[in-house]
Symmetry: C2
Subunit: 331 residues, 2 copies
Amino acid sequence: MAVTLKDVALRAGVSRSAVSRTFTKGASVSQKTRDKVLAAAVALNYQPNILARSLSTRRTKLVGLVSNNFHNPVFLQVFDLFTRRLQDHGLRPLLVNLSDETDPEASIQLLRQYSVDGVIVASSTLPPEFSKLFAEAGLPVVHTFGRYAEHPDVDTVGIDNFACGRMAAAALLSQQYTRIGYLGGPASATSSRDRLAGFQAELDKRSDVQLSHRFAEAYSFDAGRTAMLQELSTDPAEAYFCADDVLTIGAMSAVRSSGRSVPEDIGLIGLNDMEMAGWDSFSLTTIHQPIDAIVTASVDLVVAKLGREGPQDAPKAHLFPCHVVYRGTLR
Amino acid sequence: MAVTLKDVALRAGVSRSAVSRTFTKGASVSQKTRDKVLAAAVALNYQPNILARSLSTRRTKLVGLVSNNFHNPVFLQVFDLFTRRLQDHGLRPLLVNLSDETDPEASIQLLRQYSVDGVIVASSTLPPEFSKLFAEAGLPVVHTFGRYAEHPDVDTVGIDNFACGRMAAAALLSQQYTRIGYLGGPASATSSRDRLAGFQAELDKRSDVQLSHRFAEAYSFDAGRTAMLQELSTDPAEAYFCADDVLTIGAMSAVRSSGRSVPEDIGLIGLNDMEMAGWDSFSLTTIHQPIDAIVTASVDLVVAKLGREGPQDAPKAHLFPCHVVYRGTLR
DNA sequence: TCGTGCTTTGCAACCGGTTGCAAATTCTGC
DNA sequence: GCAGAATTTGCAACCGGTTGCAAAGCACGA
């Protein structure tokens, strides 16, 4: 069925090596044979089998793209960028959806079975220990949206969640809010905890400010809405830092459905600045995260690791600066 | 570096075939050797190389997942479902982002090079001719969200866009709208044109109804907003059928920013019923498309094709019923 | 104990490529 | 036209698996 090296060699009247060499650049072939081979290849519509090649070359050009965030709209943009950037480097994303997998070991086995050249873990909810397992299995790995550490176990690209927490606090303080709440994602997510820590650190400087906090079940609309409804049922704060835009939107929905309004009764500030945040139904004041730069850097990093052969440099955390985008959800 | 068959065979004191056979079910191995092999495999942390295996078995368990809809939030859900359903069958999605590729030939070459077992084209904007090229290249292909035809060139799963157009028309007529507009996605998308055709067919029955139409540049918020702003600048209709929810949300944004309100001044009905449609900021009246069923059927279909060896059954279109979900955007 | 039939095993060829090496060819300069 | 160097070529082994086939091992009944 499929056209192979041998078929082309036969038709071109040369050896299989000659055909192989015309398709691997830098190899020694005369123009004459190359022309013959190319003609035969075109005539037969030959496509080299990358997988067979990978047996010898030990390069599949496959990159595992592992994520568990399939419910946050910002990740559609993330996947779009990742696939494009990887394609720019001739790499192919093998998508692994971890949502219903609890066992990291399974995906590691999987990716090793497919001999992926590298792995990108794109998740703000998986812990560093998770990515570390990939590294220990000998796979070059980059953790995008991962937790910052001065000496991380794996290369990490993302933002300084602690600093973002401070930034959110400063924004709320500058608007003279004094009864303040934090609405996090899942308590198990490091991003949730780190953002709270930074937020807290900044607010602790002020003795006149009260801080409460609550973790939502997930970074999702429903979770944000549910958590905010609980807040509203007792004694809500004047303003909330929500750890993610989609959470913020859920919270806003809860506020409005309780008959209150944003920002008049309750102020909100989010994080991400996803496309939707600018839509006029929401008009979120939020902390902008430079997703494109983060994704591009992640891909560049993994590409650099693939190039190197032997021992890698020590893993490093790459942080990108964020800034507040003021729209309409703070007074 | 990597542990291979030979290493395991050596350690277990058996031949390579014995090792291979313990890892392919249905093969003839005695319990005794199987135990020895398994013990050695565990000790060495052996993972069979699927790509090497695929050379002999001609099965990679890779499925090309081709799409160009990375800007419509509903596709995040689509990707989530596809990856899960494929994983359920032990298949792995190789994601191909066609957004900036104009040449289908390139992705066909790519997928042939990786010897994918099958291809799923998940797009409502790519024409049937596109998927046909994959089929002609000998790849089992299913076009999800593709155009209905009685005798399609490739297996197609989706909804009856024409019928949805009629359904939208009926919904608007039942609310006594008489000056009616259609806001489509790109004019090049068959889904856009078919929905209009059905819409038109139903409205043509009524001589007292005026119909105008306009195509947006894309199925996106910005495109919907821009198109609606143009409508508003002249003489807008009383109600619009927008060919997609995200388009509807863009249109709603335009309506509101012009000082008008939905549904008081202008009624809207969308299509998809994506999760966001139910969020109370939007509360879209829209036509529900059973995405989960469509994706599941697509995967089942491609799995069935992989099982069969020889000539395939004639391609068929699989249609799923839609229904109107009434929320708050019609009077 | 031997012959029979069934199961298990290893050999060797193959899947579709790559690549070191030595032989064959072409190119230099004289 | 020729020696020597440089380039091109094909052979054969290898990448990590699978599998048809024949030989070896085994259990069983006579």
